[in-house]
């Protein structure tokens, strides 16, 4: 059964649907009037929509805030802590008549709610994750689905970034053009990341990891650091060098230029995903695992880009 799901995911990932264009950028600009570091965050994403849905009625697609296909993300703030998160739904659930985007989007919403209520501690993003997973489990109708998840909490005062990562989404911290910190990818085996799942009661074989098995880390950041958080749709298609060169184009620490950069990264990644000749990181990994594969990997792409910014007293 496990293999069926994995297979489902593989097929969904391998099939190339026509590109449904529902790109959008959302604004996350957080004002913080204290002499401490804060994050300016912009997000952008593309959904790889199934060919059928796109063919039937493109106009029917309703854009949901913070949702790109089966991906979801959130940006929230509580007092002197910024919290960002992304989640990538497992598409295999479509075969069971389950909308795969529901689980990640509800998971992120629950996280956002926990953050806004302030019931969390900075150094344990895992607790946010397990709290929201628990909430989905506790629902009278448990939400069926699976998802990877990555959450970072930035402590504005101590300037420390705490992270919890479960699965193949992740983030990079870039300082002066170099990657100084990255999240650890968690996979059971190739293209089968760790994931949180809620399955119907009889489906015992569904792959499900505990939120506590997320890899957690902490990293001190400085003013000017750039934090890029994304689902595997980005990392599977865009080599790191290319990401860095895109980031190098950021002019200043204003929301406008961050948004510009994140748009351009997401668009590049989407183009690469549909380029059949591109030797993508995904194709390289496939080769390492003995599969002759070339080209990009069409997938939902969600990118959150933040810059660490120190606000002056006079503003």
């Amino acid at each position: 059964m496990q293999s069926a799901l994995v297979y489902g995911r593989l097929i969904v990932r391998a099939l190339t649907g026509s590109v449904a264009y529902d790109a959008s950028a959302s604004l996350e600009y957080r004002e913080h009037r204290r002499r401490c570091l804060r994050l300016i965050t912009a997000s952008c994403g593309f959904s790889k929509d199934s060919a059928a849905a796109a063919a039937v009625n493109v106009a029917n697609q309703v854009f949901k805030r913070h949702t790109f296909g089966d991906d979801a993300c959130f940006v929230a703030k509580y007092k002197d802590r910024d919290v960002l998160g992304v989640a990538d739904g497992v598409g295999g659930w479509r075969d069971y008549g389950v909308d795969p985007s529901q689980f990640p989007s509800q998971l992120m919403k629950a996280c956002e709610r926990i953050v806004k209520s302030g019931k969390f501690v900075s150094d344990s993003p895992t607790a946010i994750l397990s709290g929201s997973y628990e909430e989905l489990m506790q629902n009278k109708t448990p939400l069926i689905g699976s998802s990877t998840a990555c959450i970072i909490v930035f402590d504005n005062v101590n300037h420390i970034l705490y992270s919890a990562n479960l699965g193949d989404s992740g983030f990079l911290v870039v300082r002066e053009g170099k990657v100084v910190h990255r999240s650890e990818e968690q996979q059971h085996y190739f293209n089968t990341p760790f994931q949180l799942s809620i399955a119907p009661p009889d489906l015992n074989s569904v792959l499900s990891d505990r939120p506590e098995s997320a890899s957690s880390a902490s990293f001190p950041v400085r003013e000017g650091d750039i934090i890029l958080m994304a689902t595997d749709g980005l990392f599977d298609n865009m080599p790191e060098g290319m990401i860095l060169s895109e980031l190098a184009k950021i002019k200043d620490a204003t929301f406008g230029s961050i948004q510009e950069a994140v748009n351009s990264i997401a668009e590049r990644a989407r183009d690469l995903a549909y380029d059949p000749t591109h030797m993508s990181p995904f194709a390289q990994h496939a080769r390492e695992n003995g599969m002759a594969f070339i080209g990009g990997k069409p997938d939902d792409i969600t990118v959150l880009l933040s810059t660490v910014y120190s606000e002056d007293d006079d503003t």
């Binding site: 926990i114 806004k116 628990e134 909430e135 506790q138 629902n139 009278k140 009661p201 009889d202």
Partner: protein
């Protein structure tokens, strides 16, 4: 005494009048303002603040003049200013209105005085027996204020809903301070599980997250029970013989505010089966060192007039915005009383928004009517009437002047019989009328059952002390202090402990529900003195440090309610072993017990007479534990194992259960997802007494098995098939038309799309 001052002065202008004026004055308002000596910058500020609403600007200007001038804000001055601005017509109106206003205000004072000289009043205000002021008097005094403030309300219909990200306190476009409670400090019950976020009472704090959606949502505050069903099951607790019949509350929830306010409006966002809230109270709590709370004085802010009668069900999310009584003091705690008896399903609350009038304005309004002074007056009078002093006074009195009346000639038995029909509060009031009645009212036979829950807001530590000192309660058999006191009230805890120490020997029933004070001392006294205690209810009273174990000194318990309490397995097993006659046990939501199988084993071995067992959310209970119970406790009539999702249904434990416990009336298998058709068929075949069945969230139960159950179980009254994947809304509707005597429940959850 500002009040007297006001009367002598001939009266300052009322806000009512200002309101009227603001409607008549037009472009000349700036001139009037200058004549009233309001500075230009101030006028400019008002003008720009209310740039698009001139009427409001004028009103605010007049109000600020009134605030500034205080007692000098007279009709004369106002009339002069109006004349200067060539509004002679209005000036005349103002002079005319002066008479009317003065009259009405002096009327209030008169009635006030006559109250004092009238003999009957003593009864009216003598809830002093509890050292608290009575409600009967207050509304009369508060009324005029309420009216004035109502006039002051700008229309708020257009007011937009607060956005999700708003802070807990903010200033609205209407110039009022709005705030959301920051914390839920205590509550009587909730559907969810402690330390989780779904369906818990704490969801009521903070901004609205669900409204305007009408949906059964995990983000809301949900209580444990609803409807009349919970009074019909074996575990239902019986009220005391002389309990107040005016008490309908089923649950309460306390909300803490960040900034104290005089509430002007309270908006309650009800997002599922609304209309559960029946009363709203407010209190000012000044926390002392170490989070200790003193006795607090609760003000009634609003009460539902309809009360228990069945309301029409509304199937939409509403913002409930009752017309609340404006009080003279600020409050920082709001208590909502909920009664969902008349509701068809769980009522769900999303958020509560408290709106305060701007401090300046409220100050003025209240100063005109000088409630504060009257308050002091009443306090003094109440103190004179209060129990402790009166005791000594009345003794002297009786020796000098023996009362002569015919009432005296009635036999004591008859008088006691009459008095026994009175409720607790009435008894205290009657005791204040004369020495003869006092003597009879203090007869211990009338105080065998003391239910103070209906008077929770009046009961203070002093009230408990006075009960203890006067020895009225020396034959106390049943005592309830449920919902009484707020926070960790150390004095109250001590008073209760000494009451039990002195008069607890005959105690058979003790109910301490939803109390936040430290219970340790009380429990020690209970263990030491109450040898005959049969019922102990500690639900939602969690402030206990390790003294549960001493309860194992009790041996006659038949009913024990530990819902949301925090005993550990060790103490619990000892208590169970010591009380073989236990019939009703509630261990719902007790998160401190981590091995429920051990508890189940103890129940199976020692408490074979158990009739009702509530193990709601006992996550560690497995099918083994359930089997111990079903094999040993064959008298079981009620079992609630909702959300115990560690039970392996495949082991046929439900079939074994209904086979061996043939008297089973209520079976709650809420959210046990694996429940199968086979189990339902077994219920139909063996559960001949089954009246209440809840299989909410069963994934694989099909309509066919439910149809069969409905056909076979003639006694069935209640069936919850909410969120069962295989059962459609149509099925439920069809069954409902076919089996009208069964109440079939089917919840509704909006899919987030």
């Amino acid at each position: 005494m500002a009040g007297q001052h006001e009367r002598e002065n001939g009266g300052t202008v009322s806000s009512e009048l200002l309101q009227m004026l603001s409607e008549c004055i037009t472009a000349e308002w700036l001139d009037i303002g200058r004549s009233l000596k309001i500075s230009d910058p101030e006028l400019h500020n008002i003008k720009s603040d209310y740039s698009d609403r001139r009427k409001e600007a004028i009103y605010q200007m007049l109000l600020s003049w009134k605030c500034k001038e205080g007692s000098e804000a007279t009709h004369e001055v106002l009339a002069k200013a109006l004349k200067a601005a060539k509004r002679v017509d209005l000036a005349e109106e103002v002079t005319k209105s002066k008479l009317g206003i003065t009259n009405s205000s002096s009327q209030n004072v008169d009635s006030q005085v006559s109250l004092g000289s009238n003999g009957k009043v003593t009864v009216n205000i003598s809830s002093a027996d509890l050292y608290i002021k009575s409600d009967q008097v207050r509304p009369v005094l508060v009324q005029p204020v309420q009216q004035v403030v109502t006039y002051q309300q700008p229309t708020t219909k257009k007011e937009s809903l607060p956005a999700k990200s708003k802070p807990t306190t903010w200033k609205g476009s209407d110039g009022c301070i709005h705030q959301y409670p920051v914390e839920v400090t205590s509550f009587s019950s909730h559907y969810g599980q402690e330390e989780c976020t779904a369906y818990i009472a704490s969801n009521l704090a903070g901004p609205s997250t669900i409204y305007p959606e009408y949906s059964d949502s995990s983000r809301s505050c949900v209580f444990r029970t609803y409807g009349p069903w919970w009074d019909m099951v074996p575990s239902a607790i019986s009220p005391f013989s002389n309990s107040s019949c005016n008490f309908y509350g089923m649950d309460f929830v306390d909300l803490k505010l960040e900034t104290p306010v005089i509430p002007w409006k309270i908006r309650i966002f009800e997002t599922y089966y609304p209309q559960g809230v029946i009363q709203i109270y407010g209190a000012m709590v000044s926390y002392q060192k170490g989070g200790i709370c003193p006795d607090v004085r609760w003000h009634k802010l609003w009460e539902d007039e309809v009360r228990e009668s069945i309301k029409e069900t509304i199937h939409e999310a509403i913002v409930f915005d009752p017309e609340i009584t404006i009080i003279s003091e600020s409050v920082n705690v709001i208590r909502l009383i909920i009664s969902s008896k008349s509701l068809e399903y769980y009522t769900e609350l999303d958020a509560v928004e408290i709106i305060e009038v701007e401090p300046d304005c409220s100050g003025t309004v209240l100063a005109c009517f000088c409630i504060v002074d009257l308050d002091i007056e009443y306090k003094k009078r109440l103190q004179r009437l209060s129990l402790g002093r009166r005791d000594t006074n009345s003794n002297e009195h009786s020796s000098r002047n023996p009362p002569v009346n015919y009432f005296q000639k009635l036999s004591e038995k008859l008088i006691l019989l009459i008095l026994s029909k009175l409720g607790f509060q009435d008894l205290c009031r009657v005791a204040q009328t004369c020495t003869l009645l006092k003597k009879h009212c203090y007869n211990p036979s009338l105080f065998q059952e003391v239910d103070m829950q209906p008077y929770w807001r009046l009961v203070t530590s002093e009230a408990l002390d006075s009960l203890r000192i006067t020895s009225r309660v020396c034959h106390l058999q049943k005592l309830s202090v449920s919902w009484c006191s707020y926070g960790n009230n150390v004095k109250f805890a001590a008073a209760l402990a000494s009451l039990i120490k002195e008069h607890g020997t005959d105690l058979r029933v003790l109910r301490i529900q939803g109390c936040s004070f430290t219970l340790d001392e009380t429990l020690l006294q209970v263990a030491a003195n109450c040898q005959y205690l049969e019922e102990l209810n500690l639900s939602s009273s969690r402030n206990v440090n390790n003294s549960y174990l001493c309860l194992s000194h009790l041996h006659s318990l038949t009913r024990l309610d530990m819902y949301r309490a925090c005993p550990v397995e060790g103490s619990m097993t000892e208590i169970l072993k010591a009380n073989p006659n236990l019939q009703h046990l509630n261990l719902g939501n007790t998160r401190t017990i981590t091995e429920f199988d051990r508890i189940a084993l103890t129940i199976g071995n020692h408490c074979k007479n158990i009739v009702s067992l509530n193990l709601w959310r006992a996550y560690s209970l497995s099918s083994n534990g359930l089997n111990y119970i079903s094999q040993n406790c064959i008298r079981l009539e009620e079992l609630d194992i909702g959300w115990c999702d560690n039970i392996d249904v495949q082991s046929d434990c439900f079939v074994t259960l209904v086979k061996s416990c043939s008297r089973l009336k209520k079976l709650f298998l809420t959210a046990i997802r694996h429940t199968r058709d086979k189990d339902i068929y077994a219920f139909a075949e063996y559960g001949k007494c089954l009246q209440f069945l809840d299989i909410m969230g069963a994934f694989y139960v099909h309509p066919s098995s439910i149809s069969n159950l409905l056909k076979c179980s003639r006694r069935l009254l209640y069936l919850d098939v909410s969120y069962c994947n295989q059962i459609s809304r149509q099925d439920a509707r069809f069954w409902q038309t076919l089996y009208t005597n069964v109440n079939i429940k089917r919840g509704y959850m909006k899919k987030d799309r």
